[in-house]
């Protein structure tokens, strides 16, 4: 049944977009009807100073997808997220979030940026950081409303950080900060959560709890997480895409050895970014 649906959806894409695709390039996680599609990229190209960062990327993300995107550093993972968020305009191709341009749909996309990119001395409390997520929802020149405040408290509770509400953000551990940034992304009640290297600064102990949290969230929204930590990603997500300028998406739900092997067949320089274990077999 699922296979049929996937094929139907694939067929539709081919007809409408005229995109050539091999088996499963567009296969959705499951389901695949039009209304479930959150993000759609068609033939997206991004260049930095003439150097391509993304080449002919096609991707469809549905509301129940929990997708990991792996690939080497500089492979375009962050770029891909920024394209979906409307922070970067592609040179060519089409980006749609819920059928509209991404910069019009910002309330539906929750973003958890790379951890290291903030000033740890910044005088701001955990609560204020989370409220920031609501700043784009409110008209300019207005204060936050009671609704904003109760939403902020709600998401802090959900990520288990309500007790840290009044602490300065820089005083928390890496794992705690990451939970706060997830809360900040959740406070707009997005339809898709985009995380950039979410566990890079999270110690191993907290990592399992963090993936448990994502596991709970995926009931409500699509989740895409980008990482070069292949081991961690492959054990937690439902599907894996592989990005090294070009995107290879195998649309599989289960991470079997065959799938891993299939993923690694794409041009990712595994030796250069150091996979510490032997999942590769005969590669």
């Amino acid at each position: 049944m699922e296979d049929t649906e996937a094929r139907i959806s694939h067929g539709r894409l081919t007809r409408r977009g005229g995109i050539e695709g091999d088996s499963g390039l567009f296969a959705a996680g499951h389901g695949g009807s039009m209304s479930d599609e959150i993000v759609r990229l068609e033939d997206v190209w991004v260049h930095y100073d003439g150097v391509p960062a993304l080449e002919a990327v096609n991707l469809s993300i549905n509301q129940d997808d929990f997708m990991g995107i792996i690939g080497p550093n500089g492979g375009g993972k962050t770029t891909l997220l920024k394209v979906i968020l409307g922070l970067l305009k592609p040179k060519r191709g089409k980006v749609l979030v819920l059928g509209n341009p991404p910069d019009k749909m910002r309330r539906f996309t929750g973003y958890v940026p790379q951890y290291s990119l903030f000033d740890h001395d910044f005088p701001i409390s955990v609560y204020e950081v989370v409220l920031m997520g609501r700043s784009g929802q409110r008209k300019m020149f207005r204060q936050y409303t009671k609704e904003d405040e109760s939403l902020a408290v709600g998401v802090l509770k959900e990520v288990g950080m309500l007790n840290f509400k009044d602490r300065q953000i820089g005083k928390l551990s890496g794992g705690e900060q990451q939970r706060v940034f997830v809360a900040r992304a959740l406070v707009t009640q997005p339809k898709i959560l985009l995380l950039d290297e979410p566990t890079a600064s999270v110690d191993t102990q907290m990592r399992a709890g963090f993936y448990d949290l994502l596991g709970r969230l995926k009931q409500r929204m699509a989740i895409v997480l980008v990482s070069h930590d292949i081991g961690a990603v492959s054990t937690h997500v439902d599907t894996i895409a592989c990005l090294n300028r070009k995107l290879f998406y195998h649309g599989s739900k289960e991470i079997s050895p065959e799938v891993l092997e299939a993923v690694y067949q794409c041009p990712v320089d595994l030796i250069a970014h150091g996979v510490p274990h032997r999942v590769l077999g005969k590669h």
Binding site: Y111, I124, L131, M132, S135, M140, Q143, Q168
Partner: protein, 269 residues
Amino acid sequence: MTTLNLLEIMRNPIIASVLASVACGIVGTYVVVKRLVFISGGISHASFGGIGLGYFFGVDPVFGALVFAPIAAVTMGVITRRTKLAEDTAIGILWAIGMAIGILFVYLTPGFAPDLMSYLFGDVLFVSSHQMILMAILDIVIVLVIFSLYKELLAISFDEEFSTAAGLPAERLYLALLCLIALTVVVLIRVVGIILVIALLTIPAAMARQFTHDFKKIMLLSIFLGIVFTQAGLWLSYPLDWPTGATIILVAGGLFLISFFALQRLRHA
């Protein structure tokens, strides 16, 4: 001289210093926290172009700066954001161009520019009453803008990229913040002068931030510290017959260094 006379002389300088402290305490908090010190230095020096134009066209040089400084600020902001020129390079170039425009127009103005030094280094004892009215109006504008855009400016100060992703017009807000810095420079010109403005934009907030991690409390404490520094400098400079602007800065800088090292010792003790 009687006490009454002294108070008469000091009344305007005292009010002007308090008005300056309000602007530099509020805006200086953003300058320090968002690390805008260099671009603020650029804006304040470039606004000398406005002083020169004021002389040339025969209007109050402070009004010349009022027009010129925001233009310089937006130009710097746009060039550093939208071109590939390195930020510090762009600021350095515009800093110098602004000053050169000022020097040229002062030169082109017939006759002397006797009080030129007071715009460079401040001379609050000779602040005029319409300059004080301008300072008060700018203070009100700054307070109103910060009050109404507080959440937006805090968001872009902490994380511009996330703010954009959350739907805020981050670049426009950044340019608005640079304009507030430009207005603050204008407020401060008579008190410490263009060259020393950067000290009052940084020292009170840098000192306040050692004591609290609450953004609003840093602002309030900065205002208070600004008042302490300017009043101390003012009352010290008068009997010693020292330049007021320089005295204020030396008091501020000295107290900052003492508090900084004292707190360091306390924390590592």
